[in-house]
C-alpha cells in the first residue's frame, strides 16, 4: 500500500499558507498605498531639487552650516535625553519592581505621556518662566539673585523631552526588570552576592539587551522633537533641530524637494544610531532571563533554526514587552522576555512608530486576553503562522500610519501654520508624499518603512522552518 503524494493544499499548509492567508491582503494594500508608495515618492522627489544636479539637495544640506548644524543640535538633545531617562529609569524600576501596588504608579506615569508635548510646554512656560513658581521659590529662598533661564533655550527643550519621554522609558525598563526571574536574585544572595554585586553580575547583563532597545525607542522619539523645540526652545538658534529645518524648507521656502531630502537624512541618521546600538547588543547575552524550568521552551543562544517555536514567539515579542505593563498594567510574563529576534521587531516598531503614541498603538496591538498567548492562537499552527504574522505586522504598520497623520496634523496646527495643517490633511487623505507641516516627521517615518517591512519578513522566514 502506497501513500498518495501530498496534494497542493497539504504542500501549501506545510509552508504555512492556507485560506486565512488571504486575510492579509487588505492590510498589505494599505501598507503599499500608505507607506511604500509615499516613501518612494518622497525619495524620488528629494533627488529632484529646484536648483543643481540630482544630488543638489544633499550637497546643499552638507554644505550649508545653517542646515548641517541642525543635525548636531538634534543629536545634542536626543542623546542626553535618552541617556538621562535610562539612568533615571533603571534605579526607579529596580525599586518599583518590589512594590505590590504598581498599577497606581504606572497609571500616574502614563498620564504625562497622554498629555502631549504641547500641554507640557505650556505648563513649563508658566512654571519655569522668569516669574514662575520655580524661580520665585529659588529667589525667595535666597538661593538665586536672578531667575534661572530654563525656557526658550536648550535646557527648556531638554526638560520638556525628559518629562514626556521618561514615563515611556521607565515603563519599558520596568517591563524588562520585572521580567527577570526574582529567584535569580535570591540565588545570587544565597551565594554571598551583596546588592551591588547582584546588580552588576545578574541584573545588568540580563537587562542590557532590553535597555539597548529601550535606548533606541527613546532616542528616536527624542530625535524627532518638533513642538517642544519650537515652544520652549529657541527655534531660530540653539534649538534649531533638524525637523525645524525640514519645516522651514517645506513651508517657508516651499521647497518640497529639499524638505524631502532633510526627512530622508533624518531617517538615515536615526537608522544609523539604532543599527549601531543594536549591533552592540549582539555582543552581549540575549537569551532567556529566567533561570531554569522555562529554558526548555526558549533555549538561549542556540542557532535559531533549531527553535522555530521560539522565533514565532519572538515575532510578537516587542508587542508584549511593553503592552502588558503599559496598557493593561499587568505584569509581563517572563516568557515574553526571550527576545532573540526582537532586534528586527524593535527596528520595525520604532521605524514605524517614531512617536510615542504610534509606538503605543503598535505595542498595544500585541495585547491579549489574560492568560492567553497570542501566538498559540496565531502562530502555533503551521497553517495560520505566516498569515497571522503578516496580519499582525501590517496591521501595526497601518495603525501607526493613521496615528502619525494625526500627529502631523496636531504639530502643524500647534506651530501656528493652519495652511500646514490643511496640507497634512490633504496629504494623508490622498497622495501623501512630501514633508508636511510636521516638518520631517511623516517623510522620516516613511523612509523607514521598507526597512521595517524587511525586518519583519526576515524574522518570518526564519520561523517557517
Amino acid at each position: 500500500m502506497t501513500t498518495p503524494p501530498p496534494n497542493w493544499r497539504q504542500k501549501l499548509a506545510g509552508r504555512g499558507i492556507d485560506g486565512s492567508t488571504l486575510l492579509v491582503l487588505p492590510a498589505l494594500l494599505l501598507l503599499l498605498g500608505l507607506f511604500v508608495y509615499p516613501f518612494l515618492y518622497g525619495l524620488v522627489v528629494s533627488f529632484q531639487p529646484k536648483v543643481g544636479g540630482w544630488l543638489g539637495n544633499y550637497q546643499r544640506f552638507f554644505g550649508d552650516p545653517f542646515l548641517f548644524d541642525t543635525l548636531g543640535k538634534t543629536l545634542a538633545l536626543a542623546f542626553p535625553v535618552t541617556l538621562v531617562s535610562l539612568l533615571l529609569a533603571v534605579p526607579v524600576a529596580m525599586r518599583v519592581r518590589l512594590m505590590t501596588r504598581q498599577r497606581l504608579l504606572t497609571t500616574l506615569l502614563v498620564l504625562p505621556m497622554t498629555l502631549g508635548t504641547v500641554l507640557v510646554a505650556q505648563g513649563m512656560l508658566g512654571y519655569f518662566g522668569p516669574q514662575g513658581w520655580f524661580n520665585r521659590t529659588l529667589m525667595d529662598l535666597g538661593l538665586m539673585s536672578s531667575p534661572v533661564k530654563l525656557t526658550h533655550n536648550y535646557w527648556g527643550v531638554l526638560l520638556s523631552l525628559l518629562i514626556t519621554g521618561f514615563p515611556f522609558t521607565f515603563l519599558l525598563t520596568l517591563s524588562h526588570v520585572t521580567g527577570i526571574d526574582p529567584a535569580l536574585e535570591h540565588a545570587a544572595a544565597t551565594l554571598g552576592a551583596r546588592p551591588a554585586a547582584r546588580f552588576r553580575h545578574i541584573f545588568l547583563p540580563l537587562l542590557l539587551p532590553g535597555l539597548s532597545m529601550t535606548f533606541c525607542l527613546s532616542f528616536v522619539q527624542a530625535f524627532s522633537v518638533f513642538p517642544s523645540a519650537v515652544l520652549v526652545g529657541e527655534p531660530a538658534n540653539a534649538t534649531r533641530v533638524i525637523s525645524v529645518a525640514a519645516y522651514h524648507a517645506a513651508f517657508e521656502e516651499y521647497d518640497e524637494s529639499m524638505a524631502s531630502a532633510i526627512a530622508m537624512l533624518m531617517g538615515v541618521v536615526q537608522l544609523g544610531v539604532v543599527v549601531a546600538v543594536l549591533s552592540l547588543r549582539s555582543l552581549v547575552y540575549r537569551g532567556p532571563v529566567v533561570g531554569g524550568k522555562d529554558d526548555a521552551r526558549c533555549a538561549g543562544p542556540v542557532p535559531a533554526v533549531q527553535h522555530p517555536a521560539q522565533h514565532r514567539r519572538d515575532a510578537v515579542g516587542l508587542c508584549h514587552l511593553g503592552c502588558h505593563r503599559m496598557v493593561s498594567g499587568e505584569p509581563a510574563g517572563a516568557d515574553w522576555q526571550c527576545d532573540r529576534q526582537l532586534v528586527c521587531h524593535a527596528l520595525a516598531a520604532f521605524l514605524v512608530a517614531r512617536r510615542l503614541d504610534a509606538a503605543l498603538v503598535f505595542v498595544g496591538l500585541g495585547r491579549v486576553p489574560a492568560g492567553r498567548h497570542p501566538d498559540h492562537h496565531l502562530f502555533s499552527g503551521g497553517g495560520s503562522g505566516t498569515a497571522g504574522r503578516f496580519a499582525r505586522c501590517s496591521g501595526s504598520l497601518c495603525t501607526g500610519a493613521a496615528r502619525i497623520s494625526w500627529q502631523a496634523l496636531g504639530d502643524a496646527a500647534v506651530s501656528g501654520a493652519p495652511d500646514g495643517a490643511a496640507r497634512v490633511l490633504r496629504h494623508s487623505a490622498g497622495h501623501c508624499a512630501v514633508p508636511t507641516g510636521a516638518g520631517g516627521h511623516s517623510v522620516g517615518r516613511d523612509s523607514g518603512q521598507p526597512g521595517a517591512d524587511r525586518a519583519l519578513c526576515d524574522s518570518g522566514d526564519d520561523s517557517v522552518h
Binding site: D181, L184, A187, A189, T190, G192, Y285, V289, V290, V302
Partner: protein, 360 residues
Amino acid sequence: MMLQTGQNFRTLHIEGMARTFGDFKALNGVSLDIQRGEFVALLGPSGCGKSTALNCIAGLLPMTGGTIRLDDQRIDLLKTEERGFGMVFQSYALFPHMTVRDNIGFGLRMRGVPGAELSRRVDAAVALVRMQEQAHKLPGQLSGGQQQRVAIARAIAIEPSLVLMDEPLSNLDAKLRLEMRQEIRRIHLQQGATTVYVTHDQEEALSLADRIVVMRDGQVQQVGSPAELHDLPIDLAVADFMGFRNRLAGRTLTQQGERVTVAIGSAGHPTQPLTGRARRSGLGEQVVLAVRPDDLSVQPHGLPGLLVTVELTEYRGRGFQATGTTADGQTVYFSVGHALRIGDTVNLASDPDRALVYPA
C-alpha cells in the same frame, strides 16, 4: 560579617520561628534542632508553611518571630548573603547568561576565592555532579535533570554550613525524579552536607531523609525517623499524609495492651471486627482505624472480618487495587492478587501490626 564556610558547627537551633502575612499565620512557632551532617526533610501538603520555613532559614523572608542560632551565634538577623547557606531552588534559578562552570563558581568568586583554588573547587563540584562534559554550556542548553545537577553543585561548591533544597525534583518527570533522588542521596553521603529538604512527596522524604518533620498549618506535627513516620504516625492527619488511605470509623470492641479490635460501622450494623494497634491507651468508644490498602487482605468467608462489596478493580501490574463499600457506606481501598467481580462481597482482615487505631 560573613560566615565564610562552616561545616564546623554542631547544631542549628530554630526556636519559635514565626511568619505572618497580615492575619495569616504561615508559620506559627516552629522549633527544631538540626545536627551537623543531618538530612532533614520538611514534609507537608501545599500551604503548610514548609517553603516559608525554608525561606526564613535562608533569610529570603524576614521572620516575624523566633530565633535561629548556629550553635551560640544568632543568625536570623543576618542578611541572606551573610548566612553562607547554599540553596537549591524549585525553578533551579541558574544564571542564564553564565556557563555551567561560571554558575558553579559564582559563590566562590563572591567570596574572593583566588583563581587557582576557585578552579580546583569548581572542578571538584563539577565532577561531583558528573557534569564534566557540559561544563562550558549555558543552562539553556541543558536538560532539566542536568540543570538540577548544576543547581546542586552551585549550592554545595561554597561548602555551606547548611544546604536548603526547595522541592528540587518537582519539575522533573517521574523517571528522572527517581534518578535525581538517588543522585541527591549519593551526593549527601559523599559530602555529608547538612541538608534541609522541602517536599510534599512522602516517598521522597522517606527515601532521602534521616529525619522527617511533618508540618501542617504552619506548625510541626511530628518529627521522627522515616521508619517511625511510616509505621506510627502520631495522628490521623499525619497518617493520612503517610499513605494510610483507609480511615474506617467504628467502636472499640476489645483492647488488650496496644492491640485493639474495632467494630467497623455505626451502631445497629452487624459487628464486623478489624484489629490494629493503638498508639496510646484510653481510646474511648468511638475510634478510627487507619490502614494502608496493602495491609488489608481477603480471607475466607466465615472468619471474623469486614464485609465489603466490590465496586471497582484496577490492574496494577503485580496485582489489583480494589475499591469497595462497607454495609454502612464507608469506602475501602484494598489490594488483591486476582481480579474480583464487581458486586461480589469479600471478607477483609487487617494486618494487626500495621493497622493503627486513633481516637475519633
